[in-house]
Amino acid sequence: MHHHSDDPAILIDQGQKTFKVARKNFTDPEIFRAEKDRIFERCWLYLGHASELPKPGDFISRTVAGRSILLSRDSKGTLRALLNTCPHRGAQVCRERKGNAKSFQCFYHGWVFGADGKLRSQPGEESYAADFKERDSSNMQPVPRFEIYRDFCFVAFDKNIVPLVDYLAGAKEYLDIVCDQTDAGLSIISGTQEYSIRANWKLLTENSIDGYHALTTHASYFDYLMNTTDGLSGGMGGGYGYDLGNGHAVLEYAAPWGRPVAQWIPAWGEEGKREIERLHQSLTERHGRDRADRIALKNRNLFIFPNLVVNDIMALTVRTYFPLAPDYMLINAWALGPNSESAWARKFRLNNFLEFLGPGGFATPDDAEALEHCQRGFNNAKEAQWNDISKGMGKDRPSHNDELQMRAFWTRWNAMMFPEPVPNLKGVAA
C-alpha cells in the first residue's frame, strides 16, 4: 500500500489544537482493502444477542465481515458460532435466516451436521475411511474466536486476539450500565431494521458518537419533541464525552425525551408516571440512588470499535454495520428491551424508537443524507484534503457535543492501519 510519511492519514497539532483526518481515508480503494485486513480481521465483531436464540436448536445465519456465520444453540444449550460452509465442498449449509432445527443438512451432497457443527452422517459412508466422522476436519468449523459478554456475542477471525473482556476496556462499564437497568435480562425485540447508506462506514462511526450535529441535522425532530413534550425545553442537557480505550468511546448526557427505563414525560400520562416511579424505585433498591439516577436519567451513545453502537437513549438500540465498498455500507439495527417490561412500557419504548431512529424515523434519514453528502463532498478530496475534528481539544473535560469521541476512534484506527511510527503523528487523542 502506498502511504507516504508526508501524506499522513491523520494530522495532529497539539500546539494549534487541531486534529485533522485525511478525506482520502473515506474514498481510497487501497485504504478500504487494508481496513479489511488490519481492522476487521483483528477486532472483536458483534454477531448477535443470546436472547435471539432462547431454546436448544435455535439458530440464526448472519454475515459478519463478509463471512457467512451460523450462530446456533446446541442440544446442551451452548451457543456455537460456526463458519457456514460445508467441510466437504464448501456450500453454505444453512440457507435460512433463522429457525429451530435438530440438525443441518447441506443440500448439495446431503451431509448432516448437529447444531454443534459435528458431522452426523453422510450418504455413502461406507466409501469413507473408518474414522472419517471422528476427524475434526469433517465437522463444520467454528469461528476462530467466539466470546460472549452479558449476552452480547462477538466473533474474531484472529486466533491470537486478546480476550473479549480485555478488548472491551472501558466500554465494559457502559455495557454494564445498560444491562443493569433490569434484573430480568434484556432481549432483542422481533424485527430487524436492515438498511444501507451510500457512504463510507467510518462516517457512521463518527455520526453515532457526534453530539454536535443533533440540533442542526435533527432540527425537525426537536420541533416534533416540542409538540409532544409540553413543559420540556428542547435541546440537550450537559454531559461529557469519554475515550474508553482501544478506540471505544461514549457520550453521556441528559436529554429532554422520555426514557422508558425511568424518565417520565407529561405525554405519558398518569399511568406512565406510576409505572416509571415503580421502575425508578426498583432501580434504587438494587443499585443505590446515584447509580439508579445515572441508569435512568442519563443517555449514552456507546461506540465499541470498530462497528458496534449501543444507544441507550429514548430507546435501547444495537446497531452494527459493514462496508461493501469505500462508499457503501450495510446496516443492521435492533431494539433491546427488558424481559420484565410491561406492555405499556414496551409500546412506548417502540414508539420512542420509531419516532427518532431507523430508516423511517424522523432523524436517521437525515443522518443518512448528511453522510451521503459528506461522501459526495469528498469528491473534492484532492484539493480539499482534510476533515477537522478538533472541537473541545483544549478542554480539560470535553463536552458530549465535542469531538473527543471521534479522536479516540481515529487514533485507534490509525494505530491499527499504520503501526509504524510516522513523523508528525502522536498516538494519543487530545
Binding site: R97, K98, I189, S190, G191, T192, Q193, E194, Y195, S196, I197, R198, T217, A219, S220, D223, Y224, N227, T228, L330, W334, A335, A343, R346, K347, L350, N351, F353, L354, E355, G358, P359, G360, F362, T364, P365, D366, A368, E369, A370, E372, R376
Partner: protein, 161 residues
C-alpha cells in the same frame, strides 16, 4: 350500506398516489380518518405483525402521521430537501372484504424515487382498511408490506410509501 365498486376504490388509490407524487401531503393527510394508522413492518416479520410488540420501520398513529407530514414539508427534513421526484404505480387492486365496518383492500405498489441522480425502487403490497364517510372513502389503516430484502439498496424510507 351502499356497494362500493372496485373501480371506485381504484380511483381513490390512484388519487392518493397522485397527491403523494405531487407532494400535496397536507391534502393527502385529509384522506385519513382521525383514528388512522400508517405502518411499514420490517421485512423479517410476518405481514400481520403488531407494532406494539415488534420493531417496525414505521408505525404512525394519526398524530405522528400528521407530524410526519409537517416534517416533510419543511426544509429541515434534510433527507427530502429538495424534495425527491417520485412516481407510484398501483395495481392488482382487490376488495378482500366488504361489510358494515368498511372495506379491506389490497393492492400492489411500485414506488420509484429519484434524488441526486440515484433512483430507488420500493415495492410490495399495500393493505388498506377503508371507511365510507358521507359517501366518501377514507383510510382507516394503511400497511405497506415491503417485498424486498430489508431496505437494500434503497436504504431509507424518507418518503411516504
Amino acid at each position: 350500506m351502499q356497494t362500493i365498486e372496485r373501480s371506485a376504490v381504484e380511483d381513490f388509490l390512484f388519487h392518493e398516489a397522485d397527491l403523494l407524487d405531487q407532494w400535496r401531503l397536507p391534502e393527502w393527510l385529509e384522506l385519513f380518518t382521525d383514528d388512522a394508522t400508517y405502518e411499514v413492518p420490517c421485512t423479517d416479520l410476518p405481514p400481520d405483525a403488531l407494532s406494539d410488540v415488534n420493531l417496525f420501520y414505521i408505525a404512525d398513529d394519526r398524530f405522528r402521521l400528521g407530524e410526519r407530514v409537517k416534517r416533510l414539508m419543511k426544509r429541515t427534513a434534510h433527507a427530502e430537501f429538495p424534495h425527491s421526484k417520485t412516481s407510484r404505480l398501483i395495481g392488482n387492486v382487490r376488495i378482500c372484504e366488504s361489510g358494515e365496518d368498511g372495506l379491506r383492500v389490497s393492492a400492489k405498489f411500485q414506488t420509484y424515487r429519484t434524488k441526486d441522480g440515484t433512483t430507488d425502487v420500493y415495492f410490495g403490497t399495500a393493505n388498506y382498511r377503508l371507511r365510507v364517510n358521507d359517501g366518501e372513502l377514507r383510510i382507516r389503516d394503511k400497511r405497506c408490506v415491503l417485498a424486498g430484502d430489508g431496505l437494500r439498496p434503497s436504504g431509507r424510507i424518507s418518503i411516504v410509501l
